[in-house]
């Protein structure tokens, strides 16, 4: 089987990265959208303020102008008649208008936000009071039939005071105009900044989006290529692994068919070859099927409460022949009265079997391995740990991080022509995790490795 330094884990990670990138793009776009919405809202509020302020100010000034004129107009109307009743009616009209003006001036003063506005309002209030004093006197003279004196007083004092009131009103109007201009300028500046922000946000969004899409596509492409490579490598590896036993079986069969086997001894030898290679073939198919099965997210185990010794003994029974053929002795150190565990006996046995087979494969010159089982307690959770130790070649740090990845095979294993599918440890890890446990590895290059299966105890 060919070495596989690229793995499906990377494919999964690549897929996750693309999701993270897409999420980041989404978040950035949402952030930009929120900033734009906030800017638009602020612009709207500012424009609304200007509109309200201008409309209210103009409306107020318009009303004041009308009522000021009405005050004087009604007073002058009183001059046009000698009928006391009509004069009283005109006086009433003038006083009603002057009441509205006085209230309007007070409103304006209350709404004054700056010292300049207050000063202008107070100047208008003072000049209006001066005019009203003269207006009262003029009205009195009119009602007392002193028309000539009334006209003289109005021309000499009323008109100048009235003119002052008009000037004050014009000053307030100019103030409103200036403030409106300032606010319009502020909004224009705000709009300019908003436009710049929007442009920058759009450019940034486009660039970021483009880069992100490119990155996602690239990641997906790489991921797809990796997946395809993995699949091809898997097929190639499996084919290669299949070819060897099949070739051996085929050769033995042909030997028998072609009559090359002449005696019973040779026939037994050919039979042994066929049986051994068929066994390899069966093991390989089992491993592939097991790997495929452990990858599915559905219950496929026959879960029972198990004794640890049963699991260990089952695994050892399956590798007895291998141990004998390899000349490797195994030391057992099983603690008495271990807690029960929950799991599928065949699966956990296969898991330990994989660890034991690996220990044999990688023992190198060492002729002994060990298996131990003891109880453990971690964070008040009780469990059992079953360790398989070898004293062989060990695993380098660079490989140790990848040994549980499917199809991963270390360069040393490949170089040493040690047979394997790269699925054993991956299957063992998945099996441990299926029953709430885990598989850990500690190794020192040149000194050997310890693989430990941790399983939770049955409460």
């Amino acid at each position: 089987m060919q070495p596989s330094t690229r793995s499906p884990v990377r494919h999964v990670l690549a897929h996750r990265w693309s999701s993270v990138v897409l999420l980041a793009v989404l978040l950035v776009q949402i952030g930009i959208g929120l900033v734009l919405i906030r800017d638009l809202h602020n612009s709207h509020v500012e424009v609304q303020k200007i509109y309200d302020g201008s409309v209210h100010g103009l409306h107020m000034i318009g009303e004041l102008e009308y009522d000021i004129q009405e005050t004087r107009r009604a007073t002058l109307y009183a001059l046009t008649t000698t009928d006391g009743n009509l004069q009283v009616r005109y006086a009433d009209q003038s006083r009603e208008a002057d009441r509205r003006v006085t209230e309007g001036i007070l409103d304006n003063l209350h709404q004054a936000g700056t010292a300049e506005e207050r000063n202008a309002g107070m100047r208008l209030q003072r000049d209006w009071a001066n005019y009203l004093a003269i207006r009262d006197e003029v009205l009195g003279l009119i009602l007392e039939s002193s028309t000539r004196e009334a006209i003289d007083l109005d021309l000499s004092s009323g008109v100048p005071e009235f003119e002052k009131v008009h000037q004050d009103l014009d000053a307030i109007k100019r103030l409103y105009d200036r403030q409106a201009s300032q606010r319009v300028a502020a909004v224009a500046e705000f709009s300019r900044l908003s436009t710049m922000k929007i442009s920058a946000a759009l450019v940034f969004g486009l660039l970021f989006g483009t880069v992100a899409i490119w990155a996602v596509q690239s990641i997906r492409m790489r991921s797809a290529v990796q997946l395809a490579n993995l699949q091809m490598e898997f097929v190639a590896s499996v084919s290669h692994e299949l070819r060897t036993p099949v070739t051996a079986i085929l050769s033995a069969g042909e030997n028998i068919r072609d009559g090359l086997v002449h005696d019973a001894k040779c026939l037994r030898e050919q039979g042994r070859i066929i049986a051994t290679q068929a066994g390899h073939l069966s093991d390989l198919v089992s491993q592939v099927l097991l790997h495929a099965a452990t990858g599915k997210d559905k219950p496929w185990h026959d879960v029972r409460v198990l004794r640890v010794t049963d699991v260990v003994e089952s695994a050892l029974a399956d590798v007895t022949i291998l141990l004998q053929e390899s000349g490797i002795t195994i030391e057992r150190e099983i603690q008495a009265e271990l807690p029960l565990v929950r799991g599928d006996l065949s699966v956990l046995s296969q898991c330990l079997q994989n660890l034991l087979v690996n220990a044999v494969k990688y023992s190198g010159a060492s002729r002994s391995i060990s298996i131990s089982a003891r109880s453990e307690a971690t964070n008040n959770r009780f469990g059992v740990q079953i360790s398989v130790r070898d004293y062989g070649v060990g695993i380098g740090d660079g490989d140790l991080a990848h040994i549980f990845e499917p199809f991963y095979r270390s360069s040393r294993a490949v170089a040493s022509r040690i047979r394997g599918t790269g699925l054993g440890l991956s299957i063992a890890k998945r099996s441990a995790e299926a029953f709430g446990g885990k598989l850990t590895a500690v190794s020192t290059e040149g000194a050997g490795s310890v693989f430990t299966l941790h399983l939770p105890a049955v409460e």
Binding site: A91, E137, G140, E144
Partner: protein, 176 residues
Amino acid sequence: MKGSVQAARVLPKAVFVLILGLSPMVGAGDLPQRKVKPEQALAIVVNRSNQVDNLSTDELRKIFLGSRSHWPNGRRITIAMLDYEQAERKAALRQIYKMDEDAYRNHFLKEEYRGNVFAVPKTLTSPEVMRKFIFNAPGAIGYLRASDVDESVKVLRIDGRLPDDKDYTLQIDEPL
């Protein structure tokens, strides 16, 4: 006999009527004067800025006749009268002018012709207009039922008495 019987029947009635008829005369000056009801009292009103507080009946008559044309502060006096047929006007003519309508009209025609008065009295349609006129004209003087008076005008004492004082003389005969 028949005549004496009739006399005996009539006599007590006659004595009773005589007693009733004489009773206002007997000791009338010693009895306490009743306060005039506000709706029956004729209040003399001026502008609130007017410094004058009190007028004698004689001064009041001179003012309303136009004989006195200016207030002490030099302001020209403007007389305001209510419209014809109003009870307050009738009371003013009777108690202040001591004239009827014709005599009043003739008086002012004559005075205006002679140039003795600056302007004839203003004739106003209602007590409300009267109040407003007095309020607007600093030199104005007029009259109102005491019940029609409000804060916009000032009520003068006449011979030291206000309309709600005892012995206030200016009264309106016709009920409100």
